[in-house]
Symmetry: C2
Subunit: 256 residues, 2 copies
DNA sequence: CGCGATTTGTGCACGTCTTCACAAGCGCCT
DNA sequence: AGGCGCTTGTGAAGACGTGCACAAATCGCG
């Protein structure tokens, strides 16, 4: 991931927004905390303890406290955290206060699903435009947005500053799309194509590969099977639990 | 992450494939290597050096060598790795040699896309059944498979052993679906619903949350913006030219 | 007004992962 | 056969992340 440079002046005079320089692992967990906090807020909770929030987010409470302490958190000892304040803090740190425009390239199977996914809007992301290279798909309307040809990307980007590009094309097209996104000034890319993208310095790429996730699960499945004894294939339902083996602490944040 | 218990008997009676006990980080990268290797095989390469494979997979070459060394790799010094052999090794370790049946629950927007995703089949995963709780969706045919009601899950699982369950339902339904999957013997779950699942020991859960990925990107975008934009605190020694700062090594494996 | 219950924030130790650097091994060329 | 260049495999060091355990801080109550 992008390497974090130390700020030039270490003992900085306390600037109010206090550039965070958060550990990457912490950043990856903040959105999960945020989701849990919104759930709490919706159910009427005003404050929450680190223990409560930790279980709601599926992590260790010590880890959560350390994470929050990194962003100079406001919590009151003996009481807990103010849910509303904490939501504001995290949203501010993540930069979710400004609505970021997302351009989605590739409206195939997955692209359709992404275009219709409402989890984006609810977190401050607005899908600003859909693109595809296939003329047959151009003009189609998905969820109130019209698919444009990828060649129009520069024009659209000029009208409206695009913060994040999402690539949902076949692997063969992904690199070229990435280049075009970079060319119009996009510096953050979410890549669903199963391939490695090469981008210039300063551009962040995150990759999501569904097949990879399955293969990781497959490994654990395979390992569990070979531990329990032998059942090579089948793995028929109902293996009684061999009480001895303690695979614990599932529930993992994807990221990292 | 699943905690790895040492097998009770260390010098275990020789299981032929030699239980690996790989570092989790290594496991997460193996699928990426595998994909790169398939690409190489398709383009006629018979051998590949660690350097070549590393760049194809977007990682450091030393890391790659260490990863491969963990699975007792077959490479020849001065030459490199035999592509075909390495593919076989990795597939064997990941347990991809046996076709694993996948049950997909929730055929909404995302579920449709997953059902039609061909990246699964190409890696040895076969979507064996589709389920949904909405009677309006039951009976629909997607990609040659008929959507069944979730209540039929036990019957289907009895006929055909399901290795992995994929949850693509709304968050509100996810926990119940997970419980039902666990009840029929599924021990590996891929969860796309934005919520924390609680499962018994021995069940592995991996979570993919598209909104979280965007929020992580948003953070980096936010940070980049606040670096170039305002010089932050009054640190007399201003940060030197932005050109100097080396944000390197983007292109990150999703996992961890 | 002070005390105890509760919860945060964090120093410290430990485990995991990464990266460097280099010896050992292999093939090829002379 | 011998040497040379190339590549793997790995020891060691350092960076990073995690979790324990406890002091500091705050509230409520007698």
């Amino acid at each position: 991931m992008s390497q974090h440079r130390h700020p030039g002046a270490p003992g900085s005079a306390g600037a109010v927004p206090a550039l965070p320089d958060l550990p990457e692992a912490t950043v990856a967990r903040l959105p999960e905390y945020l989701r849990a906090l919104h759930n709490l807020a919706d159910t009427g909770h005003e404050t929450v303890s680190s223990e409560g929030l930790a279980t709601a987010a599926g992590v260790n409470s010590a880890k959560l406290r350390k994470d929050l302490s990194h962003l100079g958190s406001y919590g009151t000892r003996g009481v807990g955290y103010d849910v509303a304040v904490l939501i504001g803090q995290i949203e501010s740190v993540l930069g979710l206060t400004q609505n970021r425009a997302v351009a989605l390239v590739g409206v195939g199977n997955l692209g359709h699903a992404l275009a219709g996914y409402d989890g984006f809007a609810s977190r401050g992301f607005r899908i600003a435009a859909l693109f595809d290279a296939d003329p047959a798909r151009v003009g189609e309307e998905i969820n109130g947005l019209v698919v444009r040809h990828i060649d129009e990307l520069p024009r659209v980007a000029a009208e409206e500053s695009i913060a994040i590009g999402v690539i949902a094309t076949p692997a063969a097209a992904a690199q070229q799309v990435a280049d075009e996104l970079v060319a119009v000034g996009v510096t953050s890319i979410l890549n669903f194509a199963p391939c490695v993208l090469s981008v210039p310095e300063g551009v962040d790429v995150r990759k999501v590969d569904l097949a990879i996730e399955l293969q990781i699960l497959s490994f654990h499945e395979h390992r569990k099977a070979s531990l329990t004894g032998l059942p090579a294939t089948g793995g028929s339902a109902l293996t009684a639990l061999p009480g001895g083996l303690a695979a614990t602490d599932s529930q993992e944040a994807i990221g990292t």
